[in-house]
């Protein structure tokens, strides 16, 4: 009986055919599944879920980037706050140390001046200033305890300050050079004409006893002459501000170079110093000579 001669139906032959089809398909599917039957379904599921997996991956990546960005922002913000706190701390520390630094700078400058003047100079601090008052002065923190006596010259690196007016056990009072009752023997740097400096207040002073015959120019330096035995010759006093002809003498107004209102430390000259002192000879530093063809 030919195969195609049989008709499909729920007869015995039909059941046999159904069983045959199931058997053949079952074997085929079983063989097609292979050693790992789940891999086909995994591949199909993977193919179908690829778009959603891509979206999920992008979503996860976006969240990760956002988290990292937020973390970076938070870290940057925390670091900024920390740096701001450190900056504030440094500013406070700098403000606290500013007086000490200024004092150290002043000490360095005084040390330099002390090296230039070969005399036994003593240092003292200004603890109070009464300059705004009439006949006011500067109060030092040292007195007879340091061996100070009246009429000792006082100077700073910018120029002379004045002389000691009175000396107490532990304090001393300075009579500034611009005080009305102060006088300093000075000379003009260019003309070498000598005179007496009398204070006018507010950092200005007047040189007296300069002859009308002298030629004085504004801006000319005024130095100590050493004739008063308070200051040796050659210390800077100030600069000529105005020159006017008088009846018998020139009226020379001088701006004192020492900042009398901003002095914190001063140097004190010994009593009755010599008229003239020679600054110590300082040999210039010799530069190392380079020989030709020799590299250092």
């Amino acid at each position: 009986m030919a195969l195609r001669a049989a008709k499909w139906g729920w007869s015995r032959a039909g059941w046999q055919r159904l069983l045959l089809v199931l058997l053949w398909l079952g074997h085929g599917i079983w063989a097609l599944l292979g050693p790992a039957p789940g891999r086909h379904w995994t591949n199909v599921a993977g193919t179908l879920s690829r778009p959603s997996q891509g979206l999920a991956a992008r979503w996860t990546q976006w969240r990760t980037q956002r988290r990292e960005a937020a973390r970076s922002f938070a870290e940057t913000r925390a670091e900024n706050q920390r740096l701001a706190a450190e900056l504030s701390q440094f500013r406070t520390q700098a403000a606290q140390e500013a007086p000490r630094l200024a004092e150290a700078d002043e000490a360095v400058r005084l040390l330099g001046l002390k090296r230039q003047i070969p005399l036994d100079l003593k240092a003292a601090r200004v603890i109070f200033s009464t300059r705004p008052a009439a006949f006011g002065g500067l109060i030092l923190d040292r007195g007879r305890d340091l061996g100070l006596v009246p009429d000792q010259g006082v100077l700073v690196p910018e120029g002379i300050v004045g002389r000691l007016w009175s000396v107490g056990p532990t304090q001393a009072k300075i009579l500034p050079a611009d005080a009305p009752n102060a006088s300093v023997a000075v000379m003009l740097m260019r003309s070498r004409a000598t005179g007496v400096l009398q204070g006018q207040g507010s950092g200005r002073a007047l040189i007296r006893y300069i002859s009308n015959q002298e030629v004085v120019q504004a801006g000319e330096a005024v130095l100590t002459s050493g004739l008063d035995r308070v200051f040796p010759r050659g210390l800077l006093v100030g600069y000529v501000a105005e020159v006017a002809q008088g009846d018998l003498e020139l009226r020379v107004v001088v701006n004192l170079s020492a900042p009398l209102d901003r002095i914190s430390t001063v140097l004190l000259l010994p009593p009755q110093p010599p008229v003239e002192v020679q600054p110590p000879f300082v040999a210039p530093e010799q530069k190392p000579q380079r020989k030709r063809g020799v590299t250092p």
Binding site: M1, A2, L3, Q16, L19, W30, P35
Partner: protein
């Protein structure tokens, strides 16, 4: 002149004997391959009885793969055997045998197709594998087992008639 089909009892007995030989020839893979091909392509196909043929072929395939114990996933040879036995049975009904030469020619074509299909199915089921020389021995010994199957199936009918 058409050759009458063998009786179902004789065919089932021969299939049973061949299946037993498949098991017994397990230590000799080349001989087992020849017996297996003979069972699937020569003894099991029967026009009008595809279920029985498929069952014998599936049994032969499972017996071969089970005794070989080489593949990680069995079933490919059984499916190829079922497919080829259904094809052979359909050919037997569509083009009834008329002689021994036609029988051998049909078997040769079926052996080649069975070899290709079996290895394809095994590759799908178990992955890449070595083909082995079984197909070669089956094709080489085709006249021998073809003649034996002809004589066993169609007893009384001399091959000379073809």
């Amino acid at each position: 002149m058409r050759i009458p089909a063998p009786s179902a009892l004789r065919q089932h007995l021969l299939c049973a004997i061949a299946l037993g030989l498949v098991f017994l020839c397990a230590p000799f893979p080349r001989l087992q391959a020849v017996v297996h091909v003979a069972l699937v392509l020569a003894l099991a196909p029967r026009a009008g009885s595809p279920l029985g043929s498929a069952l014998w072929a599936a049994a032969g395939g499972w017996a071969l793969e089970g005794t070989l114990r080489l593949y990680p996933h069995l079933g490919g040879t059984a499916w190829a055997d079922m497919t080829m036995v259904l094809l052979a049975g359909w050919m037997a009904g569509r083009w009834p045998l008329e002689g021994f030469k036609g029988w051998l020619s049909r078997l040769a074509g079926l052996v080649v197709a069975h070899t290709l299909l079996a290895h394809l199915a095994v590759r799908l089921a178990a992955g890449p594998h070595a083909w082995g020389p079984g197909w070669f021995w089956s094709l080489l010994s085709l006249p021998l087992w073809g003649w034996a199957a002809w004589r066993a199936l169609y007893a009384g009918a001399s091959p000379r008639r073809g």
